[in-house]
Amino acid sequence: MLSEKNNETRCFLFPVDPHMAFVYWEYSGTAAEMVKSHRGGLYLVLFKENSEYRRYEINEQTRNYYFHGIEADCFYRMAIVLADADGNKVISTSNTIHTPPAKPDNTSEIQMVDVRELRQRVQEIITKEIISDKIVMQAPYSEPEHISEIVHREEVPVFTDPAQEKAGAFNAIAYPRLSDYSKPEKK
C-alpha cells in the first residue's frame, strides 16, 4: 500500500535566530558515490537573496552545519556543490528561509481592520479552496486575496515604549520544568 522515495538527496535549511541558520542534508546512494569519487572540493554555498553570499569547504562525512553571523531579515538558500576545474556541479539545493528581523521595522504605514470581518472573509476563502502548503511556506508574507477591500489605512501615531525594546534578552528564572529530581541544589 505504500511506496517510498528512500534514496534521495535532501537538504533542509532552518533559521535559528536572526544571525544563525542550521542546515542538514542526506545523500542518495548515487550522490554519496559522486561525492566520494570526486577529485575537486565539496562546498556549502549560501545564497542571500539569490546571490552567492558565502562558501565553505566541507568534507564528505559532514551532514550538518551552522551558518553564524548571517544577516537578519533576509532570504537565504543553500546548495551543496562539487567544484573542480570544470566548474560547479550542484548536488542539492535547500528550501529558502527568512531570518527573523532583529529590530523594529522601518515602515509604519498603519492599516486597520475589523478582526471579525477579516476572520469571516478568511474562513470563506479557506472553505472555498485548499491552498498548497508549499505556496504558503515559500511566501511567508503572503496575504489572502481581497483583504485590501476591508482593510483601511489610518493615521495613528506610532508609539514606541523603551521598556519593551530589549527584545529577546529577558532574564527569566531558569526553572527546569518539574524535571530536576537529581539536583537538589539551586542552580
Binding site: Y24, D114, R119, D133, K134, A167
Partner: protein
C-alpha cells in the same frame, strides 16, 4: 467601572506525556503528581473560592493536550490517588516526628499544615472523581476562565516549516482533543514555547483559532511596525490576533533578580524532607530504588543564598503577608502603567502577562495565594483597570492593526536555539523522515484495512510524541537528559517499526496492542491531517 485598560493573566499549564504502565512506580510520572498537588488543584481552589465569594475574575489558561490526556487517564488517576495517600501518611508521620523530636518541635504546625493541605487536596480530587478536567470545565463554563489549546504534544513548530503536515497535525489534533475534553472549540492557542514564524497564522486560521501569544519582540519587530507596541494585538492577514508579552509585568514575577518568588520569606523549593530525613525513615515515600526525591514537604524559607543547610525555618503567616504585599505592588504598578499608557495611546491598553502555570504553587509555593490576593484586590482596591482575556478584549476592541508578527519564541535569547543546537539537533533528521513517512501512510489511510488503520493511527501517536519540544528542551537544560533522549529514540523506533510492518504487510498484533496500551494518547487521532496539500 470605566476601565482605562486591561490586564490579561495567561497561565500555560503543560507537561509532556509521561505514562509508563510497564513500571509500577516511574520517576517521571511524579512530574504530573507534583503539578496536580502543588499547582493545578491549588489554582482551581483559588478560582472556586473567588466564585464562592462572588468575586468576578478573568484568567486565561492553556491546558495542553498532552496534559489533558494525562489528567483524563484512568491509570494515572489511580496512581495519583495512591501517591496522595502516601503523602497524607508521610504528613501524619511528620506530625508525629516533629511533635516528639527535640529541635524539631517548632516544625509541628507546618507538618500539620501539610497534612491539612493534602487532606483538602484529596477531598477536592474525590469530588471530581479523580478527573480535575471536569473542574477546569466547570470554571470555564462560568466565562471567567478561558481555556486555550496548544500543539498536540507541544512540538516546536518553527522547526517543522519544511514539514507543514506535522504543523497541521500538531494544531488540528490539539484543537480536536480540546473539543473532546471541553465540549467546544478552542478560541485561542498557546503556541508551544511561543514559537512563531510568518506563515504559521494560515494554519491557525484553518483550525478556527482566533488568537495566540508571542513574546514581546514577536510584536515589536512585526512588519509593519506596530502602532501600539505590545499594548494592543496585531491581526495577521489571515485574521488571527497575536498578543505580545509585556516585559514589565513578566519581569516582576519571572525575573531571577527582581522577581517576587525569590523573596527571602517564601518557601525554599530545594530543601525538602525527602532529602533531609534519614533513609530508613523516608524510604517508603521516595523512589523504590532509594533515589531521594522531593516529597513536597518543606520546612524552610529561602532566607539567603549559599548552602541549603543554613536556611531558616519557614513561617507561613509571614509568607502569606508577603504574597499579599506583592499582589498589592503588582496591582499598583499595573495601575500606574495603564494610566500612563492610556494617556499615550488614547485607547485602553491590554497588558498581557503570560507565565508557566507550574511556577504558581510548584516552584513558588505562595503563587496561588498571590493570584488569589491579586484578583480580590483588583476587584476591591482600585478602579483603573479590569481583568480580561484576549478573546474578550477582541470582542470589545475588534478594530486592530494588520501586520505580520515576527519570528520569535519565549526561549532563552528569544528565538529557536534552545530547541536546535549542537546538543539536540540530531533529533530532527529522523523525525522529519518520519513525518514524510507519516504523510505516505496518511495518503493510504482511507483505503487501508481496519488493522492497517490501527497501525497508522498508532504511528501518528508515536510521531507526535517524538515531536514534543520538551525532549529537546531537557537536553539543552541538562536536567533529565537520558530520559529525554530515550523518549525521542523510543518513539522514533516505534514509529519506524510500525511503518515497516505496513510496508511488509506483516502486522504484529501483539506488538501493536502493546504500544497502543502504552502510548494511548489521543484516542480519536485523525491521520488525515498528515495528508500533503
Amino acid at each position: 467601572m470605566n476601565a482605562k485598560g486591561y490586564l490579561a493573566l495567561v497561565l500555560h499549564a503543560h507537561l509532556p506525556f509521561v505514562r509508563h504502565p510497564e513500571h509500577e512506580d516511574h520517576l517521571e510520572e511524579r512530574w504530573l503528581f507534583e503539578a496536580i498537588t502543588e499547582t493545578y488543584i491549588p489554582l482551581l481552589r483559588v478560582y472556586k473560592g473567588l466564585m464562592a465569594d462572588g468575586i468576578p475574575f478573568k484568567v486565561t489558561m492553556s491546558v495542553t493536550p498532552s496534559l489533558a490526556n494525562m489528567l483524563a487517564d484512568n491509570l494515572l488517576q489511580e496512581r495519583y490517588r495512591r501517591h496522595l495517600e502516601l503523602l497524607i501518611e508521610l504528613a501524619e508521620k511528620e506530625m508525629d516526628y516533629t511533635s516528639r523530636t527535640e529541635g524539631e518541635k517548632h516544625f509541628f504546625p507546618l507538618a500539620e499544615m501539610y497534612h491539612n493541605l493534602f487532606l483538602e487536596t484529596r477531598s477536592f480530587w474525590d469530588s471530581y472523581q479523580g478527573n480535575i478536567l471536569k473542574a477546569f470545565k466547570e470554571v470555564a463554563d462560568t466565562g471567567q476562565l478561558e481555556i486555550i489549546t496548544c500543539g498536540a504534544t507541544h512540538g516546536f513548530l518553527p522547526l517543522y516549516q519544511q514539514h507543514p503536515e506535522s504543523i497541521r497535525a500538531q494544531i488540528m489534533t490539539g484543537v480536536e482533543d480540546y473539543e473532546r475534553h471541553f465540549g467546544r472549540k478552542p478560541r485561542g492557542i498557546w503556541l508551544p514555547e511561543c514559537g512563531y514564524f510568518p506563515g504559521l497564522d494560515r494554519f491557525l486560521a484553518e483550525a478556527g483559532i482566533q488568537f495566540f501569544l508571542v513574546d514581546t519582540h514577536g510584536i515589536n519587530n512585526a512588519k509593519p511596525k506596530p502602532a501600539r507596541s505590545v499594548y494592543a494585538p496585531l491581526v495577521t492577514p489571515w485574521g488571527v490576533a497575536a498578543f505580545g508579552r509585556d516585559q514589565e509585568s513578566s519581569k516582576q514575577v519571572w525575573s531571577s533578580e527582581e522577581g517576587y518568588p525569590g523573596d527571602s520569606v517564601y518557601r525554599e523549593f530545594y530543601r525538602d524532607a525527602g532529602f533531609d530525613r534519614p533513609m530508613d525513615y523516608i524510604r517508603k515515600y521516595i523512589h523504590p530504588d532509594g533515589i531521594r526525591l522531593n516529597t513536597g514537604i518543606k520546612y524552610y524559607r529561602i532566607s539567603g543564598k549559599g548552602d541549603l543547610k543554613y536556611r531558616e525555618p519557614y513561617n507561613r503567616q509571614w509568607a502569606l503577608d508577603k504574597a499579599a504585599a506583592h499582589a498589592a505592588n503588582f496591582m499598583f504598578n499595573r495601575e500606574k502603567q495603564i494610566e500612563w499608557l492610556h494617556g499615550q495611546l488614547g485607547q485602553p491598553p491590554i497588558i498581557v502577562a503570560p507565565y508557566d502555570a507550574e511556577l504558581f504553587g510548584h516552584w513558588w509555593f505562595e503563587g496561588p495565594d498571590w493570584i488569589n490576593y491579586l484578583f480580590r484586590k483588583i476587584r476591591y482596591d482600585q478602579s483603573v483597570f479590569e481583568l480580561t482575556t484576549p478573546y474578550d478584549y477582541l470582542e470589545m476592541h475588534p478594530m486592530q492593526q494588520v501586520a505580520f508578527p515576527a519570528a520569535s519564541s519565549w526561549g532563552d535569547k528569544g528565538y529557536y536555539e534552545v530547541w536546535c543546537n549542537g546538543g539536540n539537533d540530531w533529533i530532527y533528521p529522523p523525525i522529519h523522515r518520519c513525518s514524510d513517512r507519516m504523510s505516505n501512510m496518511a495518503e493510504a489511510y482511507e483505503s487501508a484495512s481496519e488493522k492497517e488503520q490501527r497501525v497508522i493511527r498508532q504511528a501518528m501517536r508515536e510521531l507526535l510524541l517524538a515531536e514534543s519540544s520538551d525532549w529537546a528542551f531537557i537536553i539543552t537544560t541538562a536536567t533529565a537528559v537520558e530520559y529525554a533522549r530515550q523518549r525521542t529514540l523510543v518513539h522514533i523506533e516505534r514509529f519506524n517499526s510500525l511503518y515497516e510492518m505496513l510496508l511488509s504487510g506483516n502486522i504484529d498484533e501483539s506488538y501493536l496492542g502493546d504500544i497502543e496500551y502504552k502510548d494511548n494518547i489521543f484516542p480519536q487521532i485523525n491521520p488525515l491531517h498528515f495528508k500533503r496539500r
